[in-house]
C-alpha cells in the first residue's frame, strides 16, 4: 500500500480549518496531542448515537453491544503492540496513570527501603514524579542514566548503574523533547541480566513506529490514546501476566471485584482487577478505531514518512542563523525538533508563529530537568506526524524568519 499524504490529510477534518480567516492551520504540535481522523470521530459518535450503555453487567441489547465494542477495542489495542493476550492490556486514563499504577501496586508491594530504581535524565514529569513520591514514602534510591551532549543516553554509565543491582529500570522509548529513540531492546536485555524489571514509557514511541512488546521482552509498557490519533482521557498499561497477577489491585470500586462483603472483597481477574468504576467507554472505542486507522496505513510507512519530514526540517532549521536544534542527528531521532532562536524567548517565537497559523509548543514540555541539563529555561518545539508535509516545514521556517525580523 502506498502512502497517500493527500488522502491522509483529508481524513483529518481539523487540518482543513483556518486558524483565522485566510490563515490555514499548520499543526506542528502532535507530540503534545495528535489530531483525530474521521474514523475515530465517527466510531465514538456512532457508539453514543447507537450503542451507549454501561458495560459488563447489563443483560439488555445495548449493554451487550457496548461491552462487545469496549472489549473489541481492547483486542485491537493489544494487537497493535503485539501483546500475547488482551487480558494483559489494562485501560487507564493515560501514560501518566499507567506509570502511577505500577508505582502504586507492583513497586509499593515489592520494593523496600534502600532499593534502587534507575530512570534517565530525559524523562518527562510523568516518569519522574510517581517515583519521587514513592521514593519519599519508601526510602528508595533513584539514579539517572545521564544524557550526553548529543542527546543520547550514556549507555556506559547505564552499565555501571546496573552493577548496583536495581529493582526497576523505567525509561522512555522516545524523548518528547530531543526526539531521541533509545535502544530499548538492548537496555531491557541488560536490565534483565542485572535482575531488574523494566517499564517502558511508550507515550511517544507507540504512536510513531511499530512497538512489539514480545520482541522487546519488556515487563510493562505505558502509553496514551490521544497521541496516536485517539481521544484524550484514555491510555493503557501492558504488563506480563505473571506480574499483573501477583500485583495488588490499584483503585477500589465496581468492576475490579469478584466478590464484595461488608468487611472484605476479592479482586476480579485480569484485566478488570485494575479497572475500577465505569470506564471511558466511548474513548476505548475511539482508541481501538485509532489503532485500526494507523494499522491500515502501516506503522512502517508512517515512520518512514516522519523520518523524511524530520530530516527535511532539521536541514531547513539548521540553515537559519541563530537557530539551535537540540537532540541527536536524524539517525537516532523521531519526529521532534526542539530549538532555540538566539535572543528570543520560545514563547515569543511560538506566539509570532501562531500569527501565521503555525502551531508549535513552547516551554519545557514537562521535561524541566532535561532543560536544566542543557541550561536553557525553555525551547520551541515543532513535531511531526503522518499528516505533516514539507510545506508545513516551509511555513515554519518562513515564520521563524519573521520572528527574527520582529526582534532584529
Amino acid at each position: 500500500m502506498t502512502f497517500d499524504l493527500t488522502r491522509i490529510r483529508k481524513d483529518f477534518p481539523i487540518l482543513q480549518r483556518e486558524v483565522r480567516p485566510g490563515v490555514p492551520l499548520v499543526y506542528l504540535d502532535s507530540t503534545a496531542t495528535a489530531q483525530k481522523p474521521l474514523a475515530v470521530l465517527d466510531a465514538m459518535e456512532a457508539y453514543y448515537r447507537f450503542s451507549n450503555a454501561n458495560i459488563h453487567r447489563g443483560v439488555h441489547t445495548l449493554a451487550e453491544e457496548a461491552t462487545t465494542l469496549y472489549e473489541q477495542a481492547r483486542e485491537k489495542i493489544a494487537r497493535f503492540i503485539h501483546a500475547p493476550s488482551p487480558r494483559q492490556l489494562i485501560y487507564t486514563r493515560n501514560t501518566t496513570e499507567s506509570i502511577n499504577l505500577v508505582a502504586h501496586t507492583w513497586a509499593r508491594a515489592s520494593l523496600k527501603s534502600g532499593d534502587l530504581i534507575i530512570l534517565t535524565e530525559m524523562e518527562h514529569h510523568s516518569n519522574l514524579v510517581p517515583w519521587h513520591m514513592l521514593a519519599a514514602e519508601r526510602n528508595l534510591r533513584l539514579e539517572f542514566i545521564p544524557v550526553t551532549a548529543e542527546g543520547l543516553l550514556d549507555l556506559a554509565e547505564y552499565q555501571k548503574l546496573l552493577e548496583q543491582g536495581p529493582r526497576l529500570v523505567s525509561f522512555t522509548q522516545m524523548s518528547n523533547v530531543l526526539g531521541t529513540i533509545n535502544p530499548a531492546k538492548e537496555m531491557i536485555r541488560l536490565a534483565h541480566q542485572a535482575g531488574a524489571l523494566t517499564l517502558l514509557d511508550g507515550a511517544q514511541s507507540v504512536p510513531h513506529f511499530a512497538v512489539d512488546v514480545q520482541e522487546l521482552d519488556v515487563d510493562f509498557l505505558a502509553f496514551s490514546a490521544h497521541k496516536l490519533c485517539g481521544p484524550t482521557g484514555i491510555g493503557a498499561l501492558y504488563g506480563k501476566t505473571t506480574l499483573l497477577e501477583a500485583m495488588p489491585p490499584f483503585l477500589g470500586g465496581g468492576d475490579m471485584i469478584r466478590e464484595v462483603h461488608l468487611r472484605s472483597f476479592k479482586p476480579n481477574a485480569l484485566p478488570y482487577k485494575f479497572e475500577a468504576g465505569t470506564p471511558a467507554i466511548a474513548e476505548a472505542v475511539g482508541f481501538g478505531a485509532a489503532c485500526d486507522y494507523l494499522t491500515g496505513i502501516g506503522m512502517a510507512a508512517i515512520a518512514a514518512h516522519e523520518h523524511e519530514i524530520t530530516a527535511y526540517a532539521l536541514e531547513r532549521l539548521e540553515e537559519i542563523p541563530g537557530v539551535k536544534v537540540f537532540g541527536p542527528g536524524i539517525k537516532d531521532k523521531g519526529g521532534v525538533a526542539a530549538f532555540t532562536l538566539e535572543g528570543v524567548h520560545p514563547h515569543d517565537v511560538a506566539q509570532i508563529l501562531d500569527q501565521d497559523g503555525v502551531a508549535v509548543r513552547a516551554g519545557h514540555h514537562c521535561a524541566q530537568p532535561l532543560h536544566e541539563k542543557f541550561n536553557i529555561p525553555a525551547t520551541s518545539r515543532a513535531s511531526f506526524y503522518l499528516y505533516s508535509t514539507r510545506e508545513d516545514v516551509d511555513r515554519l521556517v518562513e515564520g521563524i524568519y519573521k520572528v527574527k525580523k520582529y526582534f532584529g
Binding site: 524567548h345 520560545p346 514563547h347 506566539q351 513552547a362 526582534f407
Partner: protein, 131 residues
C-alpha cells in the same frame, strides 16, 4: 496579534530602562512562572512619606513578561506603597495596552505579582494578588 509585538513592547524588551538590581534596597521579591521559566526579581527604594524613589527588575523571560516589568516599574516611580498595593490586573493591562489570552496573561502579570508580594511583605506570591 501584530499589536502583541508592537513597537513599545519590543522597545522595552530590548532596551529596558529599569533593568538591574538596587543594592541596598528597601524591598525585594522574586518569583517565576513555571510554565515558561520567566523569572523576575524586583528591588525598590522608598523615600520620605513611603514614596517609591527607585525601582529595578532583573530576570529573564519572554518579551511580554520583561516589557511588562519595565513599563510597570516606570509607572510606579513617585507613587506611594499604598498606591502600589491598590494596583490591579486591569491597571497593568491598560499600561501595556494589550488584550491577552489566558496563557500569556500569566507572563504579563508576573511582574505585578512580584511587586505586590514584595510591598505587602508576603512570603509567597499568590495569584490572588493580580485577580
Amino acid at each position: 496579534m501584530d499589536d502583541l509585538y508592537r513597537e513599545i513592547i519590543i522597545e522595552h524588551y530590548k532596551n529596558p530602562g529599569y533593568r538591574g538590581k538596587l543594592d541596598p534596597h528597601d524591598f525585594s521579591f522574586a518569583d517565576s512562572n513555571p510554565l515558561c521559566g520567566d523569572h523576575i526579581e524586583v528591588t525598590l527604594r522608598v523615600g520620605a512619606g513611603g514614596v517609591i524613589s527607585e525601582a529595578a527588575f532583573d530576570g529573564h523571560g519572554c518579551a511580554i513578561s520583561q516589557a511588562s516589568a519595565d513599563l510597570l516599574l516606570e509607572s510606579i516611580i513617585g507613587k506611594s506603597l499604598d498606591e502600589v498595593k491598590q494596583l490591579t490586573k486591569q491597571d497593568l493591562l491598560d499600561l501595556i495596552g494589550l488584550d491577552l489570552g489566558p496563557v500569556r496573561l500569566k507572563c504579563a502579570l508576573l511582574s505585578l505579582k512580584v511587586l505586590k508580594a514584595g510591598v505587602y511583605g508576603l512570603g509567597a506570591a499568590s495569584d490572588d494578588l493580580v485577580d
